[in-house]
Symmetry: D4
Subunit: 251 residues, 8 copies
C-alpha cells in the first residue's frame, strides 16, 4: 500500500498525475484503505488461524462453493454445525475433508499446527454434553492449541472435580461445558484462578428451556472468573480461549 | 357432630322424626359433614401446629381482626412476610406478639413446643439469603421441630460444604436456601441421601430475574433428591419439612 | 484407610519412611481421601439402590457400554427416558433387560426388592399424564418402595379426590402428577398432611407452554406441603420420595 | 338525521339543490352516518349503562375535565383504578362523588338502578384478592346487576366450595377471582354448569409473576366453562357478566 | 341412591340395622354421596350434553376403549383434537363414527339435537384460522346450539366487519377467532353489546409466538365484553357459549 | 358507483323512484359504499399493486381456488411463504406460475412493471439470511420497485459496510436484514440518513430464540432511523418500502 | 476538508511539504477523514436537524455540561425523556430552555423551522397514550416537519377512525401510537396506503407487560404497511418519519 | 501450615506425640487442610488480590462487621454495589474508606498496587453506561491492573470505534460495556483479535427489558472472541480480565 501511495505521490510531483486526479484517488482512500488494513474479520483469522464457516444454515451448494474456493486458495477451513447427512453429500464431491461426527465439524484433511504453549482444559459435565465438548476440542486443536479434555465431571460427584484442582491451576484457560443446572463452572471457579469460558448446553428437558437454566446459572455465578458464550457454542468458547492463549504467547 | 347424629337416629327410631324428614337431613349431610371432618387446611394445622397467616397483602385492620380472633380462641399463630412497619403499628395495640425482624414473622409470645425428634438442617448460601433462611428457621421451630442452621455455605468455598457432610447425613431433612445461581443444593445432594427442600431466593441482579436463575438451577439439578418450593418461600420449605418430620415421628 | 495410615506412621517412626516423604504423602491425602470416602453420588445409590442412568441423550453405543459394565459388575440399573426405538435396538444385543414402554424405562430383568415399609401413593390427574406416572411408579418400585397408584384423579371431578382422603393420610409420601392447569396437588394438599412431591407434566397446548402452567400452579399453591420437581420428571419425584421413605425407615 | 336527509331529497326534487351538490353531500354521508348510528362504544354504554373511564393513567386535570363534562350532561360515570390520593384531590373540587376505597372506583353519588334479574355471584379465593373482587362488585352493581359475593373461597379449604354448589347453580354468571395458583375457578367449574368469568389477580410473589401463574392456570383449566379476562381486571369481568345478564334478560 | 338410603332407614326403624351400624354407614356417606350427586363434570355434561374427550394425547388403544364404552352405554361422544391418521386407524374398527377433518373432531354418526334458541355467531379472522373455527362450529352444533358462521372477517377489511353489525347484535354469543395480531374481537366488541368469547389461534410466525400475540391482544382489549379461552381452544369457546345459551334458555 | 348513484338521482328527479324508496336506498349506502370506496386492503393493492396471499397455512385446495380466481379475473398475484413441495403440487395444475425457490414466492409468469423511481436497497448480513432477503427482493420488484441488493454485509467485516455508504445515501429506503445479534441495521443507520426498515431473521441458535435477539437489538438501536417488521417478514418490509416509494413518487 | 487537502497537495508539489511528511499526513487520513466526512450520527443530524440527547439516564451535571456546550456552539438541541424534576433543577441555571411537560422534552427557546412539505399525522389511541404522542409531536416539529395530531382515536369507536380516512391518505407518514392491545395501527393500515410508523406504549396493566401486548400486536399485523419502533419511543417514530419526509422532499 | 505439620512429624518421631494422638490430628486434616490449601475463593483472592464483598443486599450492621474484621486483619477490601446512602452511614463509623460514587464501590484508603503489565481497555458505549464502566475501572485498578478507559464509543458513530483499532490490538483484554442494543462489542470484535469480556447494562427502556436486549445481542455475536458476564456486572468483567492478565503475567 505504502509503495503504491508513494508511487502516486511521485507521479503527482512529476506531473504525470494531475492535482485533481490525485485528489480524487485520495478521496477514495479511506474505504480502500479499510479494505487494506484488514478490518475484515475472516482475513484476520486466515492469517495464522483457519477460516471458520457456520455450516448449519448453509445448503450443499453453498458449502460446495465455499470448499472449492478454499481448496483453490490453499487455505485451511473449519466448518461448524454440519450434520452427518450434509457431510455424506459433500464427500461424494470432495475427498480432502475430515468429518468429526460428534463435533459436527468438517476440516480439510491436514494436521493442525500447534501455535500456542498454553494448554486449554475442556471439561464437560455429563455424557450428554460431549458433542458440544467435542466441538470445542476439535476447534481448539485446529486453531493451534494444546488441548486436555476431562469429561463426565459433574457436580453430583464432587470428588472428581476436587481431584482435578491441580489440572485446573496449570491450564491457561478452562472451557467448562454443562447442561441441566449448569453449576459445574461455578464449582470449578471456586477452586482455581484460571479464567473459565463457560458453555451452557441445551441438554435437559422441561424447565431447562433448551439451555436457559444452565445459561442463567453461569451468568449468575457467585464465584468470579467465569464468562459465558451462547448455548451450545463450543466453537465460540474455543475461539475465545485461543485469543487468550494468543495474548499469553505474545507477551 | 356424632352426638347430634345419634340423637337424630334415636328420634327417628322413636318416631319423633319422620323417615322423610330424616332423609332430608341426611341429604344435607355431606356438606355439613365436610365442614365437620375438617377438610379445612387451617384447622388441620391448628390441631397440633400453629395457624399460619400470609401477612404480605393484608393491612393493619385485617391483621388486627385476625390477631384478636386468635387471642380470644387461645390459638397459636404465625404470620409471615410482615414488614417492620406493620409490626410497629400492631404492637401499639397488641402486647402479646413477638416480631422476628429478619424473618419478618410475627408469633404470639409463647415458647415453641418441640414435637418431632428429627433435626431439620437449614443451609443458606450467602449472607444475602439469610432473611429467607431466618423465615424458615423461625417457622420450623414454631411448628415444633428441632432446627440446626448453617449459614454462608456457598459453593465458592466448597470445603465448607464438604466439612458438613456428616451433619447432612444425620439430619432428617435439609432446607437448602440459595440465590444467584442456586447451585448449592445440587452440590449438597451429591454428598448425602437426606432429602432436600430447596428454596430459591430473589437475591441477585440482572439475569437473576428475581430468583428465576436459582429456581431453574434447582429444578434441573442433575443430582437426585431435591424438590423445590416457590422463590423466597422460606415458610413453605419449613412446612414441608415439618410434614416429613411428622411422618418420620409417626412410624 | 486407618490401617494404611498407621502403617505409614510406623514406617516413619521406624525410619523406613523419611520425614519428607511422609509429609508429601500426607499432602496428597485430602484428595485421595475424598476419593476414598465416596462422595460419589452414583456409588452411594449403588449401595442399596439401583444405579440410575438418564437415557434420553445417550446413543445406542453409549448405552451398550453402560449396560455391559453393569452386567459385568452384577449391579442393578435403571435407565430413564429411553424410547421404544432405542430399546428395540438394545434388545438385539442384550437379553437381560425389561422395557417398561409407557414409563420409557429399562431395567435388568430382576425382581425389585422391597426396602421400605412406607407406601408411596402416585396420583395422576389425566389419562395423558399416565406415562410420567408410570415412570414414577416403575422407578419407585425398583428403588425398593411399596407403591399404590390412583390415576385419572383430576379436579374436574372433585368427588374422586375426596373419596381418596383416607388413602392420602395413610401414605408416607404422595407423588401428585398433573398437566394442564396442574391444580390437583393443591386440592390434595388441602385435604391431607402427607407431604406431596408434585410433578408438572408437559401435557396441554397453547398457553400451557409445555408444562409451565402446571409448574407455576404448583409452585404458587396456597396450600402448604407441596414441593416440586422438574416438568415430566417422574423419576425425580420417585427418588425424592424414596429418600423420605428411607428416613422414615431409619428412625 | 332522517329529517335532514328527507329535506335534502325534497330540495333535490324541487330543484333547490343541484344533482351535483346532492351527490357530493351523499358522498360524505357514510362517515357522518357512522357518527350518527353510534358505533361509538362509550355512547352505547351510556344508553342504559353508566359511562366507564379507566382512571389509572389519567391525572387530576384530565379526570376533572371528564367529571365536569359528565356532571353537565347529567350522565352516570364509573371511574376505575383510581388511587385514594387522586380521590382526595378530586373531592376538594367535586362534592357529587362516591369513592369505593377498596374497589378504587369513583362514581357519582346516585343509587344504582337494577336492570337485570340474573344474579351475578362474585367469588374471591383469598383475603388478598378482595380489592379486585370489590372492583367487580361495585362495577356490577353500578351496571344494574344484582350481586352476591362470597369471599375467602380458596381451594385449600375445599368444603367451603362444596357448600356453595347450590349457589353456583342458581347464579346467572359466576365471576371467580383468584391469585397465587388460581385454581379455584377450575374447581368451581367442575361443580356447576353456570358460565364462569375468571379473573387472575397479581397477588403472590416469586414465580407468581404478578398474576401469570393464575392466568395460565385459568386458561389451561381442564374443566370447561371458564373464560378469562386480564389480570386484576375486576371491572372487565363485571362488564362481560353484565352483557350476559343483558342477553338473558332480553330473551 | 335414595332408595338404598330409604331402605336402610326402614331397616333401622324395624331394628334389622343397629343404631351403631346405621351410624357407621352414614359416616361413610359423604364421599359415596358425592359420587352419587354427580359432582362429576363429565356426567353432568352427559345429562343433555354429549361427552367430551380430549383426543390429542390419547393413543388408539385408549381411544378404542373409550369409544367402545360409549357405544355400549349408548351415550353421545365428542372427541377433540384427533388427527386424520388416528381416525383412519379407528375407522377400521368402528363404523359408527363421523370425522370432521378440518375440525379434527370425531363424533358418533348421529344428528345433533337442537337444545337452545340463541344463535351462536362464529367469526374467524383469516383463512388460516378456519380449522379452529370449524372445531368451534362442530362442537357448538353437537352441544345443541344453532350456529351461524362468518369466515375471513379480518380487520384489514373493516367494511366486512361493519356489514355484520346487525348479525352481531342479534346473536346470543359471539365466538371470535383470530391469529396474528388478534385484533378482530376488539373491533367487534366496539360495535356490539353481545358478549364475545375470544379464541386466539397459533396462526402466524416470528413474534406471534404460537398465538401469544393474539392472546395478549385479546386480554388487553380496550373494548369491554371480551373474555378469552386458551390458544386454539375452539371447543372451549363453544362449551362456554353453550353454558351461556343454556342460562338464556332457562330464564 | 358514482354512475349508479347519479342514475338513481335522475330516477328520483324524474319520478321513477319515489322519495321513500330513494331514501331507503341511501340508508343502506354506508356499508355498500364502504365496499365501494375500497376500504378493502386487498383491492387497494390490486389497484396498481399485485394481490398478496400469505401461503404458509393454506393447503393446495385453498391455493388452487385462489389462483384460479385470479387467473380468471386477470389479476396479478403474489403468494408468500410457499414451500417447494406445495409448488410442485400446484405446477401440475397451473402452467402460468413462477416459483422463486429461495424466496418461497409464487407469482404469475409476467414481467413486473416498474412503478417507482426510488431505488430500494436490500442488505443482508449473512449467507443464512439470504432466503428472507430474496423474499424481500422478489416482493419489492413485483410491487413495482427498482431494487439493488447487497448480501453478506455483516458487522464482523465493517469495511464492507463502510464501502457502501454512498449506496446507502442514494437509496430511497433501505431494507436491512439480519439474524444472530441483528446489529447491522444499527451500524448502517449510524452512517446514513436514509430510512431503514429492519427485518430480524430467525437465523441463529441457543439464545437467539428464533430471532428474538435480533428483533430486540433492532428495536433498541441507539441510532435513529430504524423501524422494524416481524421476524422473517421479508415481504412486509418490501411492502412498507413500496408505500414509502409511492409517497416519494407522488410528491 | 477539500480545501485543506488541496492546499497540502499544492504544498507537496511546490516542495513546501516533503514526500515523507505528506505520506504520513495521508496515512492518518482514513481515521481523521472518517471524522471529517461525518460518519458521526449526531453531527449528521446537526446539519439541518437539531441535536438529540437521551435525557433519562443522565444527571443534572451531565445535562448541564451538554446544554452549555450546545449553547456555546449555537447549536439546536432536543433532550428527550427529561422529568419535570430535572427541568426544575436545570432552569435555575439556564434561561434559554423550553420544557414540554407532557412530552418530557427540553429544547432551546427557538422557533422550529419548517423544512419539509409532507405532513406527518400523529394518532394516539387513548388519553393515556398522549404523553408519548406529545413526545412525537414536539420532536417532529422541532425536526422541521408539519404535524397534524388526532388523539383518542381508539378502535373501540371505529367511526372516529373511519372519519379520518381522507386525512390518512393525504399525510406523508402516519405515526400511530397505542397501548393496551395496540390494534389501532392495524385498523388504520387497512384503510390507507400511507406508510405507518407504529409506537406501542407501556399503558396498560397485567398481561400488557408494559407494552409487550401492543408491540406484538403491531409486529403481527395482518395489514401491510406498518413498521414498529421501541415501546414508548415517540421520538424514534418522529425521527424515522422525518427521514421519510426528507426523502420525499429531495426527489 | 507446612511448618506446623513438619513440627508435628518431628514430635512424633521424637516421641513427644503419641502415634494415636498424631493419627487423630491427621484424621482431622483433610477438612482443615482444605481450609489450608485454600479452596476458599475469598482467601485465594486475598493472596495478592483484595477481598471482594457484594454490598447490595447487606445492611449497615453486616457491612460494619465485615469492615471491622478486615481492618483488624489488615487486609484489603473491595465492596461493590454500595449506595451513597449506605456509604454516608458507614463513614460516620469508619475513616479509612474511600467511596467511588459512580462506581458504587468502597475500598480502604490505600493506593492500588500494580501487579500486571497487560493493559485492560475498558470501553463504554453510552454516557448512561458509565457507572458500570466505572465499577469495572475501579475494580480492575484495585485488583492490580493498568487500565485505559474510552467512553462514549457507541456504534452510532462508527468512526470513533475505527479510530481505536490500534488501542484495541495492544490491550491484553477489552472490557466492552453497552446497554440498549449492545452491539458495540460485536463491532469491536470484528476489528481486533484481543479477547473481549462484554458487559450488558440495564440502560434502556421498553423492549430493552433491563439489559436483556444487550445480553442477547452479545451472546449471539457473529464475530468471535466475545464472552459475556451478567447484566451490570462491571466487577465480574474486571475480575475475569484480571485472571487473564495474571495468566499472561505468569507465562
Amino acid at each position: 500500500m505504502k509503495e503504491k501511495l508513494q508511487a502516486q505521490i511521485s507521479q503527482l510531483k512529476s506531473g504525470k498525475l494531475s492535482e485533481e486526479d490525485f485528489y480524487s484517488l485520495i478521496s477514495e482512500l479511506p474505504y480502500k484503505k479499510h479494505g487494506d488494513i484488514k478490518l475484515d474479520f475472516h482475513r484476520k483469522i486466515r492469517r495464522g488461524l483457519p477460516e471458520v464457516i457456520y455450516g448449519k444454515s448453509k445448503n450443499i451448494d453453498q458449502l460446495s462453493v465455499i470448499i472449492n474456493s478454499f481448496t483453490e486458495s490453499n487455505e485451511d477451513i473449519l466448518i461448524t454445525k454440519v450434520s452427518k447427512d450434509k457431510y455424506d453429500d459433500l464427500k461424494t464431491s470432495f475427498n480432502n475433508l475430515i468429518f468429526y461426527e460428534r463435533a459436527e465439524i468438517i476440516t480439510f484433511d491436514r494436521e493442525p499446527i500447534k501455535k500456542f504453549d498454553g494448554e486449554i482444559l475442556i471439561l464437560s459435565a455429563g455424557a450428554s454434553d460431549e458433542n458440544i465438548a467435542e466441538e470445542a476440542v476439535v476447534s481448539a486443536k485446529y486453531l493451534g492449541n494444546t488441548v486436555k479434555k476431562e469429561y463426565d465431571v459433574g457436580i453430583a460427584c464432587i470428588s472428581r472435580i476436587l481431584d482435578l484442582k491441580h489440572t485446573f491451576d496449570k491450564s491457561s484457560v478452562i472451557i467448562a461445558i454443562a447442561g441441566m443446572e449448569g453449576a459445574m463452572p461455578s464449582v470449578v471457579a471456586g477452586l482455581t484462578s484460571t479464567p473459565i469460558i463457560a458453555v451452557p448446553t441445551s441438554v435437559g428437558y422441561g424447565t431447562n428451556f433448551n439451555g436457559m437454566a444452565a445459561l442463567l446459572s453461569m451468568l449468575n455465578s457467585c464465584a468470579g472468573g467465569i464468562s459465558v458464550v451462547n448455548i451450545d457454542n463450543g466453537f465460540g468458547a474455543a475461539f475465545q480461549a485461543t485469543l487468550i492463549n494468543q495474548k499469553i504467547q505474545k507477551q
